[in-house]
Symmetry: D2
Amino acid sequence: MCHDKDAWLSYVKAVTSTAHLQRDTPELFERVRALTLDLAEPLSDADATVQSMDDASPAKWHLAHTTWFFETFVLRDVPDYRVFDDRYAYLFNSYYEAEGPRHARPRRGMLTRPSLDEVRAYRAHVDAAVGEAWPYLGDAARALVELGCHHEQQHQELLLTDVLHLFAQNPLKPAVWTRSTLRLTPTPFASSAVEKRISTALDTNGAQWGEFEGGVVEVGHAAPRFSFDCEGPRHSVLLQPYALATRLVSNADWSAFIADGGYRDPRWWLSDGWAWVQRDGIEAPLYWIGEGKGFGLDGMQPLDPDAPVTHLSFFEADAYASWAGARLPTEAEWEHAAAGLDANQGQFLDTAGAVRPSDHGMFGSVWEWTGSAYRPYPGFRPAAGAVGEYNGKFMSGQFVLKGGSCATPRGHVRASYRNFFYPHQRWQFTGLRLARDL
Amino acid sequence: MCHDKDAWLSYVKAVTSTAHLQRDTPELFERVRALTLDLAEPLSDADATVQSMDDASPAKWHLAHTTWFFETFVLRDVPDYRVFDDRYAYLFNSYYEAEGPRHARPRRGMLTRPSLDEVRAYRAHVDAAVGEAWPYLGDAARALVELGCHHEQQHQELLLTDVLHLFAQNPLKPAVWTRSTLRLTPTPFASSAVEKRISTALDTNGAQWGEFEGGVVEVGHAAPRFSFDCEGPRHSVLLQPYALATRLVSNADWSAFIADGGYRDPRWWLSDGWAWVQRDGIEAPLYWIGEGKGFGLDGMQPLDPDAPVTHLSFFEADAYASWAGARLPTEAEWEHAAAGLDANQGQFLDTAGAVRPSDHGMFGSVWEWTGSAYRPYPGFRPAAGAVGEYNGKFMSGQFVLKGGSCATPRGHVRASYRNFFYPHQRWQFTGLRLARDL
Amino acid sequence: MCHDKDAWLSYVKAVTSTAHLQRDTPELFERVRALTLDLAEPLSDADATVQSMDDASPAKWHLAHTTWFFETFVLRDVPDYRVFDDRYAYLFNSYYEAEGPRHARPRRGMLTRPSLDEVRAYRAHVDAAVGEAWPYLGDAARALVELGCHHEQQHQELLLTDVLHLFAQNPLKPAVWTRSTLRLTPTPFASSAVEKRISTALDTNGAQWGEFEGGVVEVGHAAPRFSFDCEGPRHSVLLQPYALATRLVSNADWSAFIADGGYRDPRWWLSDGWAWVQRDGIEAPLYWIGEGKGFGLDGMQPLDPDAPVTHLSFFEADAYASWAGARLPTEAEWEHAAAGLDANQGQFLDTAGAVRPSDHGMFGSVWEWTGSAYRPYPGFRPAAGAVGEYNGKFMSGQFVLKGGSCATPRGHVRASYRNFFYPHQRWQFTGLRLARDL
Amino acid sequence: MCHDKDAWLSYVKAVTSTAHLQRDTPELFERVRALTLDLAEPLSDADATVQSMDDASPAKWHLAHTTWFFETFVLRDVPDYRVFDDRYAYLFNSYYEAEGPRHARPRRGMLTRPSLDEVRAYRAHVDAAVGEAWPYLGDAARALVELGCHHEQQHQELLLTDVLHLFAQNPLKPAVWTRSTLRLTPTPFASSAVEKRISTALDTNGAQWGEFEGGVVEVGHAAPRFSFDCEGPRHSVLLQPYALATRLVSNADWSAFIADGGYRDPRWWLSDGWAWVQRDGIEAPLYWIGEGKGFGLDGMQPLDPDAPVTHLSFFEADAYASWAGARLPTEAEWEHAAAGLDANQGQFLDTAGAVRPSDHGMFGSVWEWTGSAYRPYPGFRPAAGAVGEYNGKFMSGQFVLKGGSCATPRGHVRASYRNFFYPHQRWQFTGLRLARDL
């Protein structure tokens, strides 16, 4: 996920093969489009309209923008396609600087019209048109349909986290869904790579450590499947020996950090982080509201001490690691440790329903902050033309997160997937796993 | 109307007589409560939820807050009254500093729940309870019912101007109502007072002037009818001879001001006004959007050159008067000129429908900026107790406006009525009438 | 004094007579110019250069700007006059919007060059040129010399209050002068007017009240001496009976207000004032720093409980009056009470030296906040031409203060003198005298 | 150099050997202390006092803070040492969060007292005390003297760039020194490493490229000389083949970028950079003021088209590289290319005098922006205890710069030296050298 989801189109790679497009994309399209509607099902017109902060977008905007994507990049070249409403391009295109003015991002919450029902009708119109056009589309257009599905999956996660943020502003603390969180079997990295071994010694937090020899290893995307272009080129890096904790930092761990005065001691904090803590009066993770409870899509609930702590900024994650005598993993360390694991196993978003992270595996549950700045890989070059307009555009000031979260649609991430946010942002399902040198 | 409508309770005067309360209040209550619902009728849940700026409140909030008023001040002492939802006090009471925390004003737009339908149910619940309780209420409670009606009339005007502001943010520029503006016969002040006469000479704008001898005159509220306490005590002031224009400044007049570079010439502006013009890039009245058109509750429409110009700040009104070689009237001058006129005649809000000012009379059409700062009258003393908590609270930095507007419910204003806003505010239906010394 | 001293030129009235110009101005010029240098004498180049807030100007700027005034308005038309440095017009003219760009006010503290010595040389150059030119000047030019002297007296007071503000920012809390405050005999208003009498009853603070019958009285400037044009036209106003306290509110009084929780109780405060108290964490008058001490031009000193409290905002003065069950006087009430008193008697600035208010008379000691907004008098019209460019420019959002202070040069003020500041400003020597209705 | 020079103490490494401390430090101390005074010599008390922005400090503060360093860390344990003024610790210690309150950084410009002369006396007092104490100091204290010298060298560069920024605010555009810039012989990297070769083909800008094979190379500090701890540990990294331009981007190059609309085309800019350009109205390097001229320590001078462009933000450097079809080098690429070069050769600060970059070598002239975020090296661990309080404190949001500038004291930098600034900052002598993949 990224700061401005509108830029994702730019990361599309060259199409890898015709075969999978033809075979898999129709099912993917149908599944993704249906899930978005399901996610929005419990929302009222008002719920779907309000924007609770500049970083967030209204649910209705997510529903419309993902639809505009297909209309613009796939359907506009289809003969006889009738544009649903030609004013929507201005409202729901927030992508191209070069294509002229568009509705300002912080004003997205002013759009009480069109209504949620009108946006649903827009979706139905476009879905039908894509279905009718599919048999006649070429590979380029089909690749754009595939891209649109991955793009929409990113907006599914944002829709959930943006709605969560909105509901958190309401003193009534409404629940989107009633609770039905599954406690999944964790899928630690340790079983997957021969050079890894679990340290027999427990550390002070009762965590075990998986150790890695390092050396020259490969990172970045290489497989024939879909990826965004910032995931490549695949390349070699040299790693020093390191260890990763076999579980995420938990709510209980975090309570100990707070009890030890972690938020009041500048020793643990980066200078920018300390300024943020003081300016914003930060004292706990974002949705730790009230005694022992946390707000989530299932409303106010007791915090499970064993569950991964979430809704942390990079600054908080980094401070905790300092306090714990450890550090954050680098992106390459994390990716190397995850190599060989099944990225589809873990706590992901499958269907609409209450989501809280409970699993400690590498994939799913919470996005794991790394200590790596989001910068281009060696040999990365922006694609030519309009879709490459913004390649690398976000590569300053942000840090990489890995692994996906309980709000990420299953199947969306992979080991090479690079999510990124500014170090103060924390309305996504973000957590951390400790690392240390060997 | 005032900056924070929640403070109006504080202005209630001692009840003037039992008779009119018993006789008139039930009809007033029924009429006011029904009109509010009518005004909200064309709004969707989303329309009624979003807050477009800190100065404005969502329509839903207006509907609920005016209802909370009756529940809190009338019903809470009624035996067996069942509170509709005890969480609403926190959400919809924004009045008493002394009664502890309440939902912050700039966050009113975050309340997607309760829904508009739930708020309507809240209104029905309270209306029924007031009706049942009425026969058993004492005079004090009945006076509070009357006060609640006047309070709600203020919120009716704010509801319209706040919705107008919200819709103006939408690039689709939706219309609340289709157009049905009546062109009323103006009711100038000139016919009403023996010492006034119409100057035979037309000035450069084709306006006539009514002249007044001045001297010691009475201003402030004195009649046995309802008023807010800032309207009194009635007292004498000494006026110099003066003249008032027999019509308001029109859209055509304003176009001439713009064409003459009025917004770019610091000579006409107060220092604070010039800073505001430059900082906010002000070039025209608030809703003059596009070529010769203005946005209103009936959407984008051509500007009628003869209609009064509206949505002006005090700064703009004052600059225009300087440019025209005139000045704004003082509050006392305006009130003296209006004495004897029927404050119920003019272009007011009678039923829901498209409203644009078109009349040039003293009452209705547009609120007229005066050159008088909103300060207490001689002998003004805050009432004792909770309802007087905020008396005079807003008496710094604001200017007085007189006469009501096309969005003011008919019957709400009188000559002594004191509306007030900060000099940069202009989302109300505000205009000006020129004055000059004799 | 006013927010932007550069605007004072605009207030000059028509010259009243040739005689006094010829007779008095040379001595006035010499005295005023010398006092400014004396005031700056203890300042280093650095002291005279730094700007401690946007509202303040560096001492060096005051020295240069007052000199630029004479160079521009008197000398530039004198044959053979050599401009000292033609770049100074840009640096030290902050007056005419119409005369193009000038150095931005908040950047005045960036001017480390020219040095204080160079500015002193500029003063000597101009002083000599004025002296040489005097015999040949016409009345218009001589009137401008007189105006320049009054203008410079205003800057003398600002120089002192701006330096005081600067030194207050320094943790070393340096003293400009050692202490030599005189305790003057107060000159109450009570002896001066037949209709006034001292109430025999003491109020709870031990203050006596002088009572006034009110009626139609005259206010505004009328005498043949110099005045600024906002002081006129002289006109009649109608006053209700009222009383004024015979002494100012003292430090001891203010301590009682604080001890009673005055700064924490919203009941006493205007809405804007309460917002200011909360946003800026206001808990005491501006320079009440540390236990029982206050910072002044003589450094940190114990607060004299009997001395007038000073460095108050209008908001604080108004809140105190509410707490005390009284109110602020109106400008007209104050001026009427001061009529007949000698405006030159009282605690004023005579020579350079430590200044703290200690006297309770109407004139001098502290500027007294009134409850009157600074607005034009009936019949006030801006002068034509360049010097009238800004007439009335500051007449929004500010309140009138009367009487002068211990930092005002003796002879500068009169009963009709109108000083004005925004309600939150308090770096001048501002205090209050209570009033009440009879 | 770093954002907050006060943190440098924390970067001290373990002392490498006693011998060089004994032998070299006295001369280093004498030379460094003398140069600082020389740099301040042309400054008036006012010049040395004013702070022109939050990022900058007054020259007087630099002079005092570097002195406070020796007093606090070396002299306070010396028997019989008399503290010069015990209030200075509060004024000039801006280091330890843990040691309680200190004068706020943005208020450093308020300190008109102590005067520049008093600060010079403070320096003399401490210099004499260090000289007297030297024979009796142990190695730990001597290492702190050495550290203090390197710390002061950083402040020498900041003193120059901060004074430059201050003088640039003055419309008179004063020159600190008359011009005496030397045109040095460039010292390109190409001669220093066997695997490097100069490409024979000239690129479109007439630049040549040095090519590097990459592979596993060593970076970070390893030598027995002094370094800051963020320069280590020395470690291996894996580089892809790459090329570096043999010269810096020049003023002429930059003019072509501007002429091509570089500042108005979002294609070249990072998203944060584009927001910065638009918000701040950026159109040229910081001191390109007026037609073909640039402001420097020698005042306004014509821009030399062949000289390196300087005073660029990272955003500008990155945008230029994108426009030129190239990229910024990584820190490791730069450091590898510089290995074997003499870091003392190049255009550095030797004595006080006018400085403008004119040389194109790797060391000196301008700091070269890299594409590497400033993050810790593998195995980096904060030192224990107070001096390590802030280790790594600045490692978020900043980018690394390499090589030193014409304002860096000769001898201060080395290939492993890591300077860092936020991507929008540009008041240092910052420039760029292009890189590309092979």
